[in-house]
C-alpha cells in the first residue's frame, strides 16, 4: 500500500476495519534488516549531502583555492569500483549456487576495499608533502573531512565483511549469507556513489562554475 493511500485510510469506518484486520503483521528478518540499512543509508546520505553543500557554498567565495589534483585518487576510485563489482558478482554467484566463485569474489571485494583505504592513506600523506599544503586552506580541510568520513564508513563495512567471510566456508546456511551479501553489496554501491560524487566535486577545479551560478551560490 502506498504511503499516500495508507494516510488516506479512515480506520474507524466499517469497510476499512475489514481491510485493516487482514494486515498480517510482523515482517521477516530479511525485510527488517533491509529497511534498517535503508534508514541508515538515508542518515549517511544526509551527512554527506550537508558536507557537500557546505563545500559548494564555500567554493562560491572569491578566495577559493581548490585542492591540487592527486592522480593516485584515480587508482583508488578504480579499486573501489572493482570492489563494488566484486560484491555484485558475489551476489550473483550466490544466487546461482556457484559457491567457489562466490567465495573468491567475496574475498576480492574486501581486499580491493583495503587497497582503496590504503590508497586513501597514501593520498592524505601525499597532500601533506606538497608545497601547496596548508591546513588553514578550507579546501584542504574539506578534503580531509570528506575522505576521512567516507573511509570511516568503509571501515564499518569491512567490519561486517570480516564477520561474513568465515561463515561461507564448510556447511553454511546460504539464505542467511545471501542476506548479508545483499546488504553488503547495497552498502558498497552506495559508498561508491558517494565517493564518485565527492571525487567529482573535490577535483572539479573551476568546472562547476556554471552549476554554482545556477544555484545562486556564486
Amino acid at each position: 500500500m502506498s504511503i499516500l493511500k495508507s494516510l488516506m485510510a479512515k480506520p474507524w469506518v466499517a469497510e476499512q476495519v475489514v481491510l485493516d484486520n487482514r494486515y498480517p503483521g510482523d515482517a521477516s528478518e530479511r525485510l527488517v534488516k533491509r529497511l534498517a540499512l535503508k534508514v541508515f543509508l538515508a542518515v549517511v546520505a544526509v551527512l554527506f549531502i550537508l558536507l557537500i553543500v557546505a563545500y559548494a557554498g564555500r567554493m562560491g567565495y572569491s578566495d577559493w583555492r581548490p585542492v591540487p589534483q592527486l592522480s593516485l585518487l584515480w587508482v583508488n576510485t578504480g579499486a573501489l569500483l572493482l570492489a563494488s563489482l566484486a560484491f555484485e558478482l558475489t551476489r550473483y554467484a550466490l544466487a546461482h549456487h556457484r559457491l567457489q566463485t562466490m567465495r573468491v569474489s567475496l574475498l576480492a571485494g574486501g581486499a580491493l576495499t583495503m587497497v582503496f583505504l590504503f590508497g586513501q592513506m597514501l593520498a592524505w600523506r601525499q597532500l601533506t608533502t606538497m608545497s601547496y599544503f596548508d591546513i588553514t586552506i578550507p579546501a584542504i580541510g574539506f578534503f580531509y573531512i570528506l575522505t576521512g568520513l567516507h573511509a570511516l564508513h568503509m571501515v564499518g563495512g569491512l567490519f561486517v565483511w570480516g564477520n561474513t567471510v568465515p561463515k561461507v566456508w564448510n556447511n553454511f546456511d546460504p539464505i542467511r549469507v545471501k542476506q548479508t551479501v545483499d546488504l553488503c553489496a547495497t552498502y558498497w554501491n552506495f559508498l561508491l556513489l558517494v565517493w564518485v560524487v565527492m571525487f567529482g566535486l573535490l577535483f572539479s577545479g573551476d568546472n562547476l562554475d556554471a552549476l554554482l551560478k545556477f544555484c545562486g551560490i556564486k
Binding site: P11, V18, V39, V46, G141
Partner: protein, 599 residues
C-alpha cells in the same frame, strides 16, 4: 459509511512468520544493567535524563539568583554565569528532553503499543543507552577540567566558542563537542530501532492508521532526529578540527586580544546554517512526541475519540516536513539577504497552520467529552495553555520586522521556554502520571500530584509571563548584569527578583514529584492492569508491569483503531484494540458467561 468498527469482521490472519527470538538474561547484571529489554532501557534512559535534568535545573537557579539579586552571590561571576546559561540550555534540550521523549517514552511505549515483543535490534538498543550515558558523563566531566565547561551559549557559535577569552574555550568546548557527537551516534542506533520497529514489527491488524498518536509523534520525531542530527554532528566535527588541528571551516582571519589568529578564510555563518538545520527540527523532535502523547492523554481522560485522527496524523507529518525549511528564522540578524528572510518568515507562518489544526482538534476532543480531571488530564490542559501561549508569541518572532527588534531579548527566552520547556515538560509529567501504573502496578498519589501540578503550572506562568514584558522593554538575554542601562527602568529589578523567587519555588516543588515517584512505588494504591480504562495495547498485557516479551504466548491481534471510546450502544465506555467484535458487550443485551453477545 457506517461508523461501526465494533460491528466489523472478527477475522485476523494467523501469524505467517515465527516470532523474534528474545534474549533471556540469567544474571542480575544481564537483567537490570546490561539489559536488552526495551522497558528496562527506557527506565535507564529516563533516570539518566532526569538526573542530568536536575543538574540543569540547579544551573538555572544559579542564573536566576544572579539576575534576581545581583552582586549578592560572590561565587557567581560573569564567566561561570555564561557557563550556567550554556550547560542549562544544552542539557535541557538535548540530554533531557530528546533523551526522555525518544529514549525513555519511545523505548517503553513503542514495542508495547505496536504489539511487539521488543525492539527489532535489542543489542543495538542497549548499546544506544550506554553511549548516551557516556555522552552525559563526558559532558559532566567538563565541569572538572581547567577552565570549566564552555560558556559560549547553547548555540556554540564560532568564532566566539573557541576563541581565547570565552569560558571553557579549550577543554570545555572539546568535551561538549565530543559529548554531542557521542550522543548522536548513540541516538542513531536507538532511532534506527524505533523506526524499523514501528514499520516492521507491528502485530496483526495494527496498520499504520491504527497506531495511537503517541507512536505517530515518536515515529516522526525520530525521523526528524535521524535526518537533523547529522548537521550537528558535522558542525561539531568541523569545529573540533578548527580547534584541534587548525583547519578553517568556521574560523575567519581574526585578530583576538590584539594578536592575529592562526585561521584564514573560514565562514562562521556556515556553522549557524548547519546548527539551525539541526536546531529547528530539534524543536519538533521534542514537540511531536509531546503532541502525540497529549492527544492520547486527552482522549483517554475525556473518554472520547480523538477529534480528526487523520488530520492529526497529517499534521504531524506536515509539521515534520516543514520543520526542515524554517531554520533561518533563527538567523534574521545574521545579515542574510532580505529575500531569504521573506522566504523563511513565510514558511514559519505556514507551519502555524497544521499546528493550529492540532490545537483546535484537542479542544474539539474536549468539547462535550466526559472530562475526568485526573492528574494526567490536568497536565494535558496545562500543556495546551503553555503551548498556545508559546505558539502565539512564535508568530511574533517568525515575522522579520517584529523579530529583529526583539532579537536577543528576554522575550525570546520567554517564548521558547513556554513552547519548548514548559509545554513539553507538562506532557512529560502528564505521561509519567499516566503510565506509571503500567510501569509499577501502582497509582501515584493524587494529592501530591495536584499540588505538583498547580505549583508547576502557576509557577511557570509567574516566571515566563513577566519575562515577555522584560523583553518588550529591551532587557537583553545572556547578560550577567544590566545595571546602568538608561532605557531599562529600575523597576525591572523587582520583576527579575519575583521571577527568581518563582523559579526557586517551582524548582523546589519538583521534589514533591520525585518523592511521589518513590513513595507511590512502595505505598501507592494498586492500579490493576488498566486503571484509566484505556484502549491501547500496552494496557492489555497479561502482567502489570509487563514482563520481558510484553505479551502472553501469542501477540495480541488488533481489531480496531486506538480511539473506540464511548461507542453508542456498548456497555463499557471503551473498547480495547484487541477485543474482537464478537466479544464486545452491548447495553441491554444478554451476555454469555464469557462476556460474548448471545446471538
Amino acid at each position: 459509511m457506517d461508523h461501526a468498527s465494533h460491528d466489523a469482521s472478527d477475522y485476523a490472519p494467523p501469524n505467517e512468520l515465527g516470532e523474534m527470538e528474545l534474549y533471556h538474561p540469567k544474571t542480575f547484571l544481564g537483567k537490570y544493567v546490561w539489559s536488552q529489554d526495551a522497558k528496562v532501557i527506557a527506565i535507564q534512559y529516563s533516570i539518566t535524563a532526569i538526573a542530568i535534568g536536575i543538574v540543569a535545573l540547579v544551573l538555572s537557579w544559579l542564573m536566576r539568583l544572579q539576575l534576581g539579586f545581583p552582586n549578592t552571590f560572590t561565587f557567581i561571576n560573569p564567566s561561570n554565569y555564561l557557563q550556567f546559561v550554556t550547560l542549562h540550555g544544552m542539557i535541557m534540550v538535548v540530554y533531557l528532553l530528546t533523551a526522555l521523549f525518544l529514549g525513555g517514552f519511545g523505548n517503553y511505549l513503542i514495542p508495547l503499543m505496536v504489539g511487539a515483543r521488543d525492539m527489532v535490534f535489542p543489542y543495538l538498543n542497549m548499546l544506544s543507552f550506554w553511549i548516551y550515558l557516556f555522552a552525559v558523563l563526558l559532558l559532566c566531566a567538563s565541569f572538572f577540567v581547567p577552565g570549566g565547561p564552555t560558556g559560549s551559549g547553547w548555540t556554540l557559535y564560532p568564532p566566539q566558542a573557541i576563541l581565547e577569552g570565552t569560558p571553557g574555550s579549550r577543554e570545555g568546548i572539546i568535551l561538549m563537542l565530543l559529548s554531542l557527537m557521542c550522543f548522536i551516534v548513540g541516538f542513531t542506533m536507538g532511532g534506527l530501532n524505533y523506526v524499523v520497529t514501528i514499520l516492521q514489527a507491528r502485530t496483526r491488524g495494527m496498520t499504520m492508521m491504527r497506531l495511537p498518536l503517541t507512536i505517530w509523534g515518536i515515529f516522526m520525531a525520530t525521523i526528524l532526529a535521524l535526518l537533523a542530527f547529522p548537521a550537528l554532528f558535522v558542525s561539531a566535527l568541523m569545529m573540533l578540527l578548527d580547534l584541534c588541528l587548525g583547519t578553517s571551516f568556521f574560523m575567519p582571519a581574526i585578530v583576538s586580544l590584539g594578536r592575529p589568529g592562526e585561521h584564514v578564510g573560514g565562514n562562521p555563518l556556515l556553522f549557524q546554517h548547519l546548527f539551525w538545520f539541526f536546531g529547528h527540527p530539534e524543536v519538533y523532535i521534542v514537540a511531536l512526541p509531546a503532541f502525540g502523547i497529549v492527544s492520547d492523554l486527552i482522549s483517554v481522560h475525556a473518554r472520547k475519540n480523538i477529534f480528526g485522527y487523520r488530520m492529526m496524523v497529517w499534521a504531524i507529518v506536515i509539521i515534520g516536513g516543514l520543520s526542515f525549511v524554517v531554520w533561518a528564522h533563527h538567523m534574521y540578524v545574521s545579515g542574510m539577504n532580505p529575500y531569504f528572510g521573506f522566504f523563511f518568515a513565510t514558511t514559519t507562518l505556514i507551519i502555524a497552520i497544521p499546528t493550529a489544526l492540532k490545537v483546535y482538534n484537542w479542544v474539539l476532543t474536549l468539547w462535550r467529552g466526559n472530562i475526568q480531571l485526573t492528574i494526567p488530564m490536568l497536565f494535558a490542559l496545562g500543556f495546551m495553555f503553555a503551548f498556545i501561549h508559546g505558539g502565539l508569541t512564535g508568530l511574533f518572532l517568525g515575522n522579520v520586522t517584529v523579530s529583529v527588534p526583539l532579537s536577543d531579548t528576554m522575550f525570546v527566552v520567554a517564548h521558547f521556554h513556554m513552547v519548548m520547556a514548559v509545554a513539553p515538560i507538562m506532557v512529560v509529567f502528564g505521561a509519567i502520571y499516566h503510565w506509571y501504573p503500567k510501569m509499577t502496578g501502582r497509582l501515584m498519589n493524587v494529592k501530591m500530584g495536584k499540588i505538583h501540578f498547580w505549583v508547576t503550572f502557576l509557577g511557570t506562568y509567574a516566571i515566563y509571563l513577566p519575562m515577555h514584558y522584560l523583553g518588550f522593554l529591551g532587557v537583553p538575554r545572556r547578560y550577567f548584569a544590566i545595571e546602568g542601562t538608561s532605557f531599562i527602568p529600575d523597576s525591572v529589578q523587582y520583576l527579575n527578583a519575583s521571577i527568581t523567587i518563582a523559579a526557586l519555588i517551582v524548582g523546589v516543588f519538583q521534589a514533591i514529584f520525585l518523592y511521589n515517584l518513590v513513595w507511590s512505588y512502595f505505598k501507592g494504591e494498586p492500579s490493576g492492569d488498566n486503571p484509566w480504562k484505556a484502549t491501547t495495547l500496552e494496557w492489555q498485557t497479561e502482567h502489570t508491569p509487563p514482563i520481558h516479551g510484553n505479551f502472553g504466548e501469542t501477540l495480541p491481534p488488533v481489531y480496531r483503531w486506538a480511539y473506540d471510546f464511548s461507542v453508542p450502544g456498548v456497555k463499557e465506555d471503551f473498547i480495547p484494540q484487541n477485543v474482537a467484535p464478537k466479544d464486545v458487550v452491548y447495553e441491554n443485551t444478554p451476555t454469555t458467561p464469557h462476556g460474548t453477545r448471545a446471538s
